[in-house]
Each structure stands twice: as C-alpha cells, then as structure tokens.
C-alpha cells in the first residue's frame, strides 16, 4: 500500500485530500507509434486537475487509459491506494470513474432523461425477474434512481428538455446532458474531455460554473482536458502538461505558466 500524504486547504477554503489516483510510468503504444511515453502524475481527492498540451499530445489517450479503454503496455494505474489490475471499462466505471467525451457520445435513440438514467446503471441492481413484473422492487428502484437523476437535471438546469430525444438538441445542450449523465453516476472521479469545445464565451462561463459547483457541492475529483488557457488557469488547482506523449510540466497554474518548456511547446519551438 502506498503511503498517502494528507491533504491541504486551498486559498478559497476548499478541502483537498490525499492522492486518490496515480499514474506510474505509463507507456502506451499503437503499433509503432508511442502515444504516451513514460508519464507519471497523480490526482488528489477533491481537486480539479487539468491536462493540457498541444493537439496530438496524447491527452485523450491518457483519459482513455484512466477509464480503462486503453491498456498501457507499461506502467501501473493506482486507485485509492492500491494498484488497479487490468480490468474492462465497465468494471472501471463501477469503481466510481465517470467521464464525458470529446465528440459527444450520447445515446441518440433515447431522451435526455433516459440518457441521464443510464448514468445510474452501475447503481441499479434489481434482477430480470423483478424487472419483468415491474411492480414492487423494480419500480421502487426506478423511482429512487429517478429522484437522483432529477436532482442532477435540476442542478444542470435541463428540466425543460428532459423528455426531448437527444438527437434534436443543440451542441451546447448535448454537452450539458453528457455532463449530467456522468454526474448521475455519483462518481469519485469525473473525467471531462474538452468540456468547453465548440462553445462561445457565455456557454463557457456556464459550463465553468457547473464544473466548479460540482466540485464544490459534491466534492467530486475532476480531471479535465482543456485547450482554453483562461479556463484552465481559472478553474484548476494543478496542471499536467503533455507534448508528443511526454510530460513537460506539472504543478500549479502559475508554476506551469512560467515553465519555459511549456511556452516552447505552445509556441511551436522545434524539438531535437
């Protein structure tokens, strides 16, 4: 078991806990291409951790490693103090890790409410027999989970569209529904893959507010990939910077902002 250092309190009074997830020497290859080269970093309980870097740096791949979709050829993922064995993505989800996707991955054949309810699926355990009768156990479980889903829907202010088929929604609303689905799982760690992509200033402000509220109210640990520097600097407690599959920066926003390697990467200074 790893020895966990205690948490601390931030300047604005939020409680950051000990390390909850740690990536140790992760290397990920696709055929001949090394998407991630020996990267290590950790995520603390309750913090907002940004993963940034130029396009193609391997950020989404890193998120996929965390959610178990990609299995790294080398390295270990440590979760809540112990090494996470190789497991299927759905088992990872059942451990309390939820995520949103870069190109929206909502279930287009279902309504908003149903999509949010799919976020509750890891929690709904009634057997097939009870479900085929519906009245009794299954209905009670459905109602209980519906209440949780409705709270999230209220929180994200999408009540009016709850019965709308998701395929009819605008891009911004779809992103919000995807966030609702992830939140409905009441996850310990929430992974957000470019949650602000394609949004205007107003929408970004709304989404930022939601992210902060989620972290504040539910204490959810958040790891997010984001390109908008302003958002990153304002929202995150700590930042990891990736470039060409390697880690080139790791620290608070101000530390990272002044890191020469990071500046070079973004300005496009040639590598040797």
């Amino acid at each position: 078991m790893k020895d966990m250092t205690d948490g601390y309190v931030t300047a604005d009074g939020r409680q950051i806990g000990p390390v909850v997830m740690e990536m140790k020497n992760i290397t990920l290859r696709f055929g001949g291409v090394e998407a991630i080269k020996d990267i290590s970093f950790d995520i603390r309980q309750g913090e907002i951790r940004a993963i940034i870097g130029p396009n193609g740096a391997g950020k989404s791949s890193m998120l996929n490693v965390i959610s178990g979709f990609y299995v790294p050829q080398e390295g270990e993922v440590w979760y809540k103090g112990s090494r996470r064995p190789a497991m299927k993505p759905f088992e990872v989800a059942q451990q309390g890790i939820a995520r949103t996707f870069q190109n929206i991955a909502l279930f287009e054949g279902m309504s908003v409410l149903d999509n949010v309810m799919t976020g509750r699926l890891t929690n709904m355990k009634t057997g097939m027999f009870w479900q085929s009768i519906w009245k009794g156990k299954a209905e009670r479980e459905e109602t209980a989970n519906r209440e949780v889903a409705e709270k999230i829907i209220d929180f994200l202010e999408i009540q009016a569209i709850r019965k709308t088929p998701v395929s009819r929604l605008s891009y911004g609303l779809k992103k919000r529904v995807e966030l609702a689905r992830a939140l409905a799982a009441e996850p310990s760690i929430l992974l957000l893959d470019e949650p602000m992509a394609g949004m205007n200033v107003e929408e970004k402000e709304d989404m930022s507010r939601f992210i902060l509220d989620v972290n504040d109210e539910f204490g959810t640990t958040i790891a997010l990939i984001e390109h908008d520097m302003g958002v990153v600097m304002d929202l995150s407690d700590r930042v990891v910077v990736m470039d060409y599959g390697k880690k080139i920066g790791d620290g608070t926003p101000s530390e990272v902002r002044n890191n020469q390697d990071v500046i070079d990467a973004y300005l496009g200074v040639a590598h040797d």
């Binding site: 996929n64 979709f69 996707f101 870069q102 991955a105």
Partner: protein
C-alpha cells in the same frame, strides 16, 4: 493412384471451380460495398433477374405476358423471333444499366446518410421487389440458358489423367470456362480500380464521400457506375449458374452462399472475395465428401460455409483481407 485419393483430388478441383463461381457473385457485393457502404443483399436476385432477362430476350418472350394475359384476357407469349446470344447479352446489359440507374435514383439517393442496417434492409426489400418483378416479367418456370458455352465432360483432361493416374478426372468444360472468365473479370476489375480515372474516383468515394465531393467527383455517377458494374458481374454470374443448373429461383440463393465468402475475405477486398470463394468452395465440397456424407447424413453444404466463416470471424472479425475496424471514442 489409390482411388480414395483420386476421388479427393477430384472433389478438391471441383471445389475450386465452385469457389470461383462463388467469388464471382461475391465480387459484385464487394464493388458496391466499397463504393457506397451498402451491403447489397439483392446481388443474388440481380443475377437471377439478369439471367431471366437474357433468356427471355433470346427466346423472344413478351415481357409481362402472363400479367397482360390475365388483365386483358389475351394469349400472347412470344414475339416469335430468336435473338442471337451476343446481341441478347448486350441488350440485357442495357437493361441492367437501366436498373442501376433506377435503383440509384429511386431508392438510394433518398437514403444517403442513413445507418448501415437501414441500407441493408432496403436491399432486402429490393431483392423481394426485383424477384417479384422478374417473375411477373418473364414467368417463374425454369428456363434453360444456352449462350453457346461449352458444356459437358472435358474429354482431354479425362483421357490424360486416366493415362497418367489410372483414374479419369471428371471436370466439366463449363467450370473451366467459368474459372477463366472469372479470373479475367477479376483482373479487369482490379486494373480498372487501380489505373483508370473512374476507378480512382470509385476508390475515393469508398473512402470518404465528403472528400470525394470536394475534389469534384460526382457521387451519383460513381454509384450508378458501380451498380452497373455489379449488374454486369451479376449477369456473368447468372449466365454461368444458369447454364449449369437452369434459370430458376434457386439462383437468387447464391447470394446467401456469397455471404460467408465475404465474411472470410473481408467485405472490402477484391482479392479477399477470390480467396474466400476458393476456400469456401473447396472446404464445402471436401467436408461433405469426407465427413458430411459418410457420417452426418449429407447435405452439409447448406450450412458448412457459414459455420466455417463464423468460426473464422470470431478469431478475426474483419476477415482475411478486410480493413481492421479500429473503434475510437
């Protein structure tokens, strides 16, 4: 040569020939799938329709005669003329191009962008529709097909092998001709796809519709071209199969045989269709000869191809030569 071995080799060779015919039908599928992502279940019925039309034109049948007679109370059946085979084939090709145009215009133009399963089901509907039209047009009785292809035992092979091995191999002339024609077709199609402007445009469309549009490729033209090519392949297949076993409904069931060929070879690969066809042809006949007839009561050819393909797919979901399906999130 011991008799059992001689039999086995003969079955093997016949299997190769059968495989070539399967590959012919499978080619039609690959063409359309490559260019439009549509899995054309109606390919087999297209072969049947082509064969029916050819036989009907050669015999000078009046199209829809049965129906006309029923409605109007007349009793006409034939025009009374006989069209020479070569001309009839050309005319049938014109019909198939017309069919390609109609199918593109009336059906698939309206289904652009739909999910693959919807497109597939549309082709099932098309298969039923075309079968019904074919029957109404030319009648559903069995017809014989004779375009002057050589048939019957190849005596040269029979004599030579008998003298060499003590056992005369029974290889049908028709099968030899079919193999040669199929081989020529394959070479022709591959060269067309690789080296001509239209072929390149076809491959561009298969890759990315939007990108092809942006470099000035007319999607509709390519699709009509592809369906016409598939129609041509269907006609050749129809002639081969029709000469072999007569033009009848069971011709359309070849499509069902072509499916395991495609599963093995990969849906997007022309060489895959050939290799898959040969493997299925040989495998099917050998299995029936060695295991099916003696131990399992026979008629295993109905399902062996599918089982083989199924098992193969479990280990290699994209087939032998198909593009590996990489799923990204």
């Amino acid at each position: 040569m011991p008799e059992q071995l001689a039999f086995t080799i003969e079955v093997f060779l016949n299997g190769l020939m059968a495989g070539v015919l399967y590959a012919l039908v499978a080619l039609g599928f690959v063409l359309i799938y490559k260019a439009s992502g549509i899995f054309n279940y109606a390919q087999g019925v297209m072969a049947l329709f082509a064969a029916l039309t050819l036989a009907g034109i050669i015999d000078g049948q009046v199209p829809f005669s049965h129906l006309i007679n029923a409605i109007l109370g007349t009793d006409i059946h034939h025009f009374g003329w006989h069209v020479p085979a070569f001309l009839a084939i050309l005319l049938t090709m014109v019909v198939m191009i017309g069919l390609a145009y109609a199918v593109q215009r009336l059906v698939f133009r309206h289904l652009v962008g739909q999910e693959p399963i919807i497109l597939f089901m549309a082709t099932i509907g098309l298969a039923y529709f075309l079968e019904g039209v074919g029957d109404l047009m030319w009648g559903s009785d069995i017809k014989s097909m004779d375009v002057g292809l050589p048939q019957g035992l190849n005596t040269w092979i029979d004599d030579t092998t008998f003298n060499a091995f003590g056992y005369g191999f029974f290889i049908d002339n028709l099968d030899i001709v079919a193999s040669i024609i199929a081989a020529l077709l394959v070479i022709g199609l591959v060269m067309f796809a690789q080296y001509t402007k239209q072929g390149r445009a076809m491959r561009a469309v298969a890759d990315d519709h939007q990108a092809a549009l942006s470099v000035g490729v007319s999607l509709n033209f390519i699709w009509i071209l592809v369906w016409s090519l598939a129609g041509f392949v269907a006609l050749v297949a129809g002639i081969m199969w029709g000469t072999k076993s007569g033009v009848q409904f069971s011709l359309s069931l070849i499509a069902l045989k072509a499916l395991p060929v495609l599963m093995l070879g990969g849906f997007t690969s022309i060489p895959g269709a050939i290799v898959g066809g040969l493997i299925i042809g040989v495998g099917e006949k050998l299995f029936e000869f060695l295991i099916g007839a003696p131990f399992l009561g026979g008629a295993t050819e109905n399902w062996f191809a599918y089982m083989l393909a199924l098992i193969f797919l479990v280990f290699r979901p994209q087939g032998l030569f198909g593009e590996k399906i990489i799923e990204r999130v």
